[in-house]
Symmetry: C2
Subunit: 773 residues, 2 copies
């Protein structure tokens, strides 16, 4: 078991790593030729242009101003300076609320730390159990002296831990309640203070029943004209453009290659670049690269045009789904929340996601198939979580010396060299596992896509949930019980239900030092690596060197990405879990978590302000998940404490601890009923108020023209560049009215238009009319 | 263990009991003076009047026509004759669907029996395990030879049981699916083919926020005028008339006593009846009874009038709830299904229950209190289920000889007599337990009322759920593990999760004979006693003798009651559970269950046609619960089989059996999503269609007048009899339009008005317009 000294050394190493990362970041970000990587958000918003257009050539790449290096930690106060409202305006509500998760961690754990250190640590420290044990040759460390392990069996001092467990639970619940309230309010305020957006008026209708006499479009129009007589405005059918999208993607790749060879040719025009057109460019006929790609692109362009025409004409390419728009927000809110037809699996309505949030491929899946897909994926995820080690072990055995020699005898002479042998034996199995873990989010995303969610935000939320469960079983439980998930499963199945908490509870104080190291490596150093953005930096410079010809190309070369809710949030949740579990057991651990939360908060605030660019805006729809997982962590911590105390001869305290999870779960169900509707439904009162306001402000607004083409497949949006009369005519209205449309970049959202404090007189008057306490 | 002979004797005894009950019933029902008890439904509908108005005096009481005795089993074909549509018309959809539960039992178990007897019984029988065991002096019976116990350890024959478990599961699911579909269709058809009913247009709004400037009524009107501008019609506030209801109830009791003494006096006018007015009428001053009660009633009448005036005037007696009515069914459907205000715990809307289904006392409970009440009741129910034996054991110890002697030493000489001693020792403990079980549904009903449900139907459904759980733990598991629920809990907590199914599975074949006896006593004889209706018969004759003066009194004296969903349905579910659990284990048991289902179907069909009178109509809202519990039984049966086979050395079959509950639960979630909305929501398409039809038929209908007073507290409905100008004026419209209003009886529903086959041309045209496959 590690002593305080070991922890100190480890902390020093990790702090040093983090410091090196930060230093590298501080230097790299000041170099003008990295500017686009570290300030990409500002470029996307058009608020920053390439630096030093004039000046020495060197200055274009290297910052020679020594003063700026002195202020290399400046980015920290800078990133904290922006007030939250401006942050929402700048980066959207999703990002602002994502930051609040870190703040939530600080709010929960700072008071808990004070309480734990001022009460629990003295109570634990002033025992001598471990000193006595030491005489019998069992090693124990100073950390354990501060933990619950130092309290003797059956001591009355355990009541302190129980009382504090109550205090921690109540405090956490209180903070969670306040936070849920705040976020729900922010969401409603964000939605209501936003400018007109197409998704406020639109409902996604799925499972339109086939009709022998009418097309999907007619059938939809007919149905809504009858059943939402006063509210229906227009609708857009959904085309099955999956094949088209594939072609366009292929063409874009070809275009990249063409650019690359043209650039190569322009730099060295002595000889035109040749390529082999066989498998992977390794063999086959040699042809002129530029000619080859030009002809290929021409062919693809024709194919695309044909496919486009086919999609528009062929009634089979129209999916049984449509985006139906209403005259008022009220009408849309009504349609989204009600059941339309006698058969509840037909005419399914739900709020339309934002146009850029739609996941188009999944819109046509029929209801029965959806439920079957869910079942399959649930079973698959179960096997993935508990049995993922089986295929990995198999691959690892293949990747061993004998395995490789068997599979490919001709490699034998190479493998038998000592250096390579050592490499294979030492690293390859680890790399196989690491590769799997790196690809895990991608695997989970594919699974979620297969399940048929129809917006990017819901896909990410689903992945986050599954990733969290995977981490819970394989990282948290896996580290505590020290075995694969499969072994754990066997252990648990063979134990009595009474013993589960004991098995986990007993192991918890013993694993404290391991988790402290984990927090430092995965948390501290990980976050520092995050800010350095090594991968995007390298990719940007590669692209910049090989592909970029114009300023517009450079713009496209930088892809800042988004926060990555699907992997980021489960990681934070692991820290919530560790913090809550160890709060009453080993208070030593919590300061490490507080440092993580504080540091991560600063880093991500900087990243959100300067780098990341959200692809969609779900208005913090993920908060119920965040809340639910903190509650889960709380319940797990309570059960662990129960098990631990049961083995500590404090069994008479169990009834007091059983009340805790019951109360916590009740609190959860209360919050769920009280706040979750704000994230799922849209209150009619709000809708009506906003409609009235809108109508008073712009009575002549042509909503139909505004909504006409809001929900067309992104593939067809490209048509603006071409001269496609049919579409251009429709889109002309739109390009005037939709400020989010930017021709230079796909996936670039417009800044959210929050009109805080605007409309001073009218809304107040309306609010006063329909009071709500 | 019982042999086939023992079972035969038991069956003979129970069949004889049942036969005696049936014979008694056959004789009693033919006596004219019992006519009102055995045909009360027809009296209530006004289709039968007191028999033999003319004729000999004796004939008025005794049927002397010997021919009618010869046809004493005639009621069976008679009760089966009425077609289902007529039954729905006669007794409502609730009753008709309730009967379908028994039919569902027959549909599931008749094919299962055939399959089990033709395949399983030969497979089990042709082993000789038990013959060999017999040699080692363990007794076993012929029944066990037919059961799975006769198959040797690790035999391949267990595959038959596994395949049949699959077959049983698929058959049960198929029947359940078809039945869910049918019932959902019947419900929608019932609702849509019904005549105009107030609850179709009305939504119950709760948690109206208090407003300092406006009364509740103004606030409601304001809110809905704004937020449902085009649809709002009118509303009725809810008065807190709980105190008033109590006074009226008291007055009614006094009136009964007065009637009793007046009747006594009229029969024997020589001396006026005297009573003591002290405690329980045992001591105190002697006064003239008639004078006493007359004065009391006068006083109460004044109090009631005062209270009525107070309730109407005092703004505090208006509860923050209201029944809001809309112009169209569409408007009501929209309001019931959507969220109204930003705060989802205010302005809660839900479909209004039928006026006679409303449970008025609970309408004012605020949201936060509701969630706390649910928590308290959940904990209380847990303790009730697992710890109910503790207070009972305590009372039993009090009820022992020593306990009584201690508590009341003066009774010692009486108790010490041998006869009384034997009685106390032998019967009292049993009676205490029996009394508890008799009062259990009442206790559960009080708990549900405390939870704050606001309709009688939801209260009954909740009680049914809890009663089922109680039975599952204390009857099913209690009989198998043979111990109190508390012991079971301890057993399970100490065992590993793997062992739960084994513990139950092993015991199951051994308890088969016990359950066969249980089915015969509780099922066969119990149902036969049901038809005899002993309790209502005795009460009716007592009332008839002591209280009845006029024909109207006699009408009121008979209270047929209703089916009693809260106790009846859990009982049926126990038989589903037994049948499914034993289907693959001891096929011997299922024929007994089939006899139960068949017999009970006939008896309840007779009762529903001739006796019971439903107090409300929920349009089969209970079916999702019924479906869910059969699924639960199916899963329990699969787990038991898994445990049993694991102990039989057929562990390799476990994976095949694990798939079964997974598939069953998936099937359940599919059905839930597919059919449950039909029981919770009201599709807009249906609403719109019905609105259009109504409008076409009666364009001039005054809906506002029709709905104005549909939802007034039943206490105020009595005012019709008095001359209360304010109310009469309002009610005049209503008494013309509401055919359900009958002055002679409270709680008497009007016959449901199904217009099957009416409106031949118009609806078809509309249906054709919005087709749905």
């Amino acid at each position: 078991m590690a002593t305080l000294g070991d922890i100190g050394v480890s902390a020093a190493i990790n702090l040093l790593t983090a410091f090196i990362f930060l230093l590298a970041f501080a230097i790299l970000r000041l170099q003008p030729f990295n500017d686009r990587v570290y300030f990409s958000k500002w470029y996307l918003k058009g608020l920053r242009s390439s630096p030093t257009q004039a000046g020495a050539f060197v200055r274009k790449f290297v910052n020679l101003d020594y003063r700026s290096y002195l202020r290399f930690l400046n980015w920290i106060p800078e990133s904290l300076k922006m007030p939250e409202l401006e942050l929402i305006d700048h980066a959207g509500l999703d990002s602002a609320v994502y930051l609040r998760i870190y703040l939530l961690g600080l709010k929960i754990f700072v008071p808990i730390t004070f309480l734990a250190w001022s009460i629990l640590v003295p109570v634990n420290w002033t025992n001598s159990t471990l000193d006595n044990v030491k005489l019998t040759n069992v090693t124990s460390s100073d950390i354990d002296k501060l933990s619950i392990s130092n309290v003797p069996l059956g001591s009355n001092r355990f009541w302190t831990h129980i009382v504090l467990a109550y205090a921690f639970t109540f405090w956490t619940c209180y903070v969670l309640l306040k936070e849920y309230e705040t976020v729900a309010f922010m969401r409603l305020h964000f939605i209501s203070s936003e400018k007109r957006r197409p998704d406020q008026f639109t409902v996604l209708v799925r499972n339109v029943p086939p009709d022998p006499d009418e097309s999907v479009s007619e059938s939809v129009e007919h149905f809504f004209l009858v059943n939402h007589r006063d509210n229906y405005l227009t609708h857009q059918v959904v085309y099955n453009a999956n094949k088209l999208a594939k072609l366009v993607k292929k063409m874009r790749r070809m275009q990249n290659w063409l650019d690359y060879y043209q650039l190569k040719y322009s730099r060295n025009s002595s000889r035109s670049p040749m390529i082999k057109i066989g498998f992977l460019g390794c063999w086959g006929e040699r042809v002129d690269a530029i000619d080859h790609y030009t002809s290929k692109i021409e062919k693809l362009a024709k194919e695309i045009a044909d496919e486009k025409a086919r999609v528009r004409k062929d009634p089979k390419s129209i999916m049984p789904a449509a985006f139906v728009s209403f005259k008022t927000r009220w009408g849309a809110a009504v349609c989204a929340q009600t059941q339309q037809s006698r058969n509840p699996t037909l005419w399914l309505t739900e709020w339309a996601p934002e146009p850029r949030d739609v996941y188009w491929e999944n819109l046509a899946i029929p209801y029965v198939q959806l439920t079957i897909r869910r079942l399959i994926m649930a079973v698959a995820f179960f096997f993935l979580t508990f049995f993922f080690m089986i295929p990995i072990t198999f691959v690892q055995s293949l990747a061993s010396i004998e395995g490789i020699e068997k599979a490919a005898p001709f490699l034998k002479p190479i493998i038998d060299r000592d250096f390579i042998k050592a490499f294979i034996q030492g690293f390859l199995p680890g790399i196989v596992l690491k590769l799997f873990l790196i690809f895990l989010p991608t695997i989970l995303m594919i699974m979620s896509k297969f399940e048929g969610f129809n917006s990017m935000s819901s896909l990410e939320r689903r992945v986050a949930t599954r990733y969290y469960l995977f981490n819970l079983v394989n990282v948290f439980l896996g580290s505590i019980i020290a075995g694969t998930a499969l072994d754990q499963l066997k252990t648990f199945l063979k134990q009595s239900a009474n013993d589960y908490p004991k098995t986990i509870g007993v192991a918890i104080p013993m694993r404290a030092t391991f988790f402290i190291t984990y927090i430092m490596v995965d948390g501290w150093a990980g976050i520092a690596a995050e800010i350095l953005m090594l991968k995007p930096l390298i990719i940007y410079h590669l692209k910049n060197f090989f592909l970029v010809k114009t300023e517009k190309d450079r713009e496209e070369a930088m892809d800042p990405g988004s926060i990555g809710f699907n992997t980021g949030e489960p990681q934070i949740q692991l820290y919530f879990l560790l913090g809550l579990v160890y709060a009453a057991v080993t208070p030593m651990l919590i300061p490490f978590i507080i440092i993580f939360f504080g540091f991560a908060y600063v880093v991500f605030r900087h990243q959100i302000i300067n780098v990341y660019n959200q692809e969609y805006e779900s208005a913090a729809a993920f908060w119920p998940d965040v809340h639910g997982r903190v509650i889960a962590a709380l319940v797990i911590s309570q059960i662990c404490l129960m098990g631990l105390l049961a083995t500590k001869g404090a069994a008479q305290s169990t009834p007091f601890l059983i009340a805790l999870p019951v109360l916590t779960l009740w609190f959860h169900s209360f919050c769920k009923a009280r706040y979750e509707p704000a994230f799922v439904r849209y209150p009619l009162q709000e809708a009506m108020m906003k409609d009235t306001l809108d109508h008073a402000r712009e009575p002549q607004f042509n909503l139909k023209a505004y909504l006409q083409n809001a929900y067309i497949h992104p593939i067809f949006k490209d048509d603006e560049d071409e001269d496609d009369e049919e579409f251009i005519s429709k889109l002309e209205n739109e390009s005037v009215l939709v400020p989010t449309k930017r021709q230079s970049r796909r996936n670039t959202p417009a800044p959210s238009k929050i009109s805080v404090g605007s409309s001073p007189s009218l809304p107040e008057a309306v609010v006063r009319e329909y009071p709500e306490p």
